[in-house]
């Protein structure tokens, strides 16, 4: 037991890295995903097709590959080539990747709002932006909560991929201790850390869903 308690300190350090990556990714990818979703359904075909291609690329290749690309290959790309430190590189890869998934969730949510809602808004004199902000997006939020819950839980676990950039998140910290102490207990502790995080997320999304369910028909 004392041994397990002694692990909590270093593991908490690892959790800081995991949680920073998690929250920064969310803060960047949710708005970016929304913008991509709106671009995807826009009447401007070129824009829509470009976003379509972007989503295909991001969903069609492993996140691990994207991570490696941003860190190792991006510096050699002409024009946009920048050399990013490890953590910012991870953020860029995660945000770009998750934005693509969120974009598809938001698009489906927006398109599930009945056409009558647009017409109802239009005959009241509301323009497209007002309709989007006041009528469509609030209704979209409720519908995307279950898939968003799924995706954010996946994100918690995907953060463990950053070990390839030698960043000490929960899992890499645990593995380091396993190799040092010749015991697998740290893996169990790491699992508990992840489980607690996903439990909090699950609870949070359930509460949100309840709040938005009050106007259910």
């Amino acid at each position: 037991m004392d041994y397990v308690l002694s692990l909590i300190g270093p593991m908490a350090e690892g959790a800081k890295v995991t949680l920073s990556l998690f929250f920064i990714t969310l803060i960047l990818s949710v708005p970016l995903g929304l913008v991509l979703a709106l671009a995807r359904i826009s009447k401007w075909r070129t824009l829509s097709a470009a976003v379509n291609g972007y989503i295909w690329l991001m969903r069609g290749t492993p996140l691990m590959l994207q991570l490696l690309f941003v860190y190792f290959a991006l510096p050699f790309v002409p024009l946009i080539g920048v050399r990013l430190p490890d953590f910012p590189a991870a953020i860029v890869a995660f945000a770009l990747n998750y934005a693509a998934y969120f974009a598809e969730i938001f698009r489906a949510g927006i398109q599930s709002v009945d056409r009558g809602q647009y017409e109802g808004s239009k005959v009241l004199g509301m323009n497209y932006l007002q309709t989007l902000r006041r009528i469509v997006l609030p209704q979209m939020v409720r519908r995307v909560l279950p898939p968003m819950s799924n995706e954010t839980i996946t994100l918690v676990k995907d953060t463990s991929l950053i070990y390839v950039l030698a960043l000490n998140d929960i899992l890499r910290t645990a593995r380091g201790i396993v190799q040092r102490d010749f015991t697998t207990t740290p893996f169990l502790v790491a699992a508990i850390f992840y489980l607690v995080m996903t439990l909090v997320l699950t609870w949070f999304f359930q509460r949100l869903e309840k709040r938005y369910a009050k106007f259910d028909e």
């Binding site: 009558g116 009241l124 004199g125 259910d216």
Partner: protein, 270 residues
Amino acid sequence: MPNSMNNGAAGGLSTDAREVMIEAREITKSFGDLRVLDGVSLSLHKGEVVAVIGPSGSGKSTFLRCLNHLEIIDSGSIIIEGEAMATTLPDGGAHYVSDSEVRRICRKMGMVFQSFNLFPHMTVLENVIEAPMTVKKLPRNVIVPKAEALLEKVGLRAKRDNYPGRLSGGQKQRVAIARALAMEPDIMLFDEPTSALDPELTGEVLRTMRQLAEERMTMLVVTHEMGFAREVAHRVIFMDNGRIVESAPSSEFFRSPKHERTRAFLGQML
């Protein structure tokens, strides 16, 4: 009283002194190869209540939806209270004024849909104050008393804090009417307002509409309610196959329909 106003606006030109609220000329509209409107013209005067009837697929709803830009016309012209929204170009196509102008002109008209289209994430009161607040930028404390008065008028003040999901169809439609009136339109368009309702709920909606008519609201009503058309409308228009077949003062229309198709339709309905 309504009959005294039946002065044949269908054929009336400058002899009619009353203000023309909607002037639609030779509207055509096709969905793909299907010609839905085939040269429909209408003048709607201030304070006039006109019922548009006809079999389904006759184009009556499409015509109504063209008047407030929910559908784009192929050719013809639409003039609302003297302001042109769409005009026909020499080549025959329709030309619309700019989007913001269209929005401004369309604000003179309120619309009530068959499927209500209330905002489900807002309470009854929020539904009514939404457009005055976001579009007209009226402060909440100005619009709330007005909205409450409108809800009182449609008999739903007690429901102000309910969500639409908790209301019956008839109540939803009355909220929709209050919501449209909150923008203070000069003209009200009704697109089969009672068609989605259980028969026992149509009465309350029709009563509200009748009350509006008595207050001299200018109304264009697409409906299957022959009772309403006969008793409340000043004029009845019968549409079939994208054309206006017959237009007459309502008493005359129901007493002695001139066209064979009108008679056949009325025979089925009554």
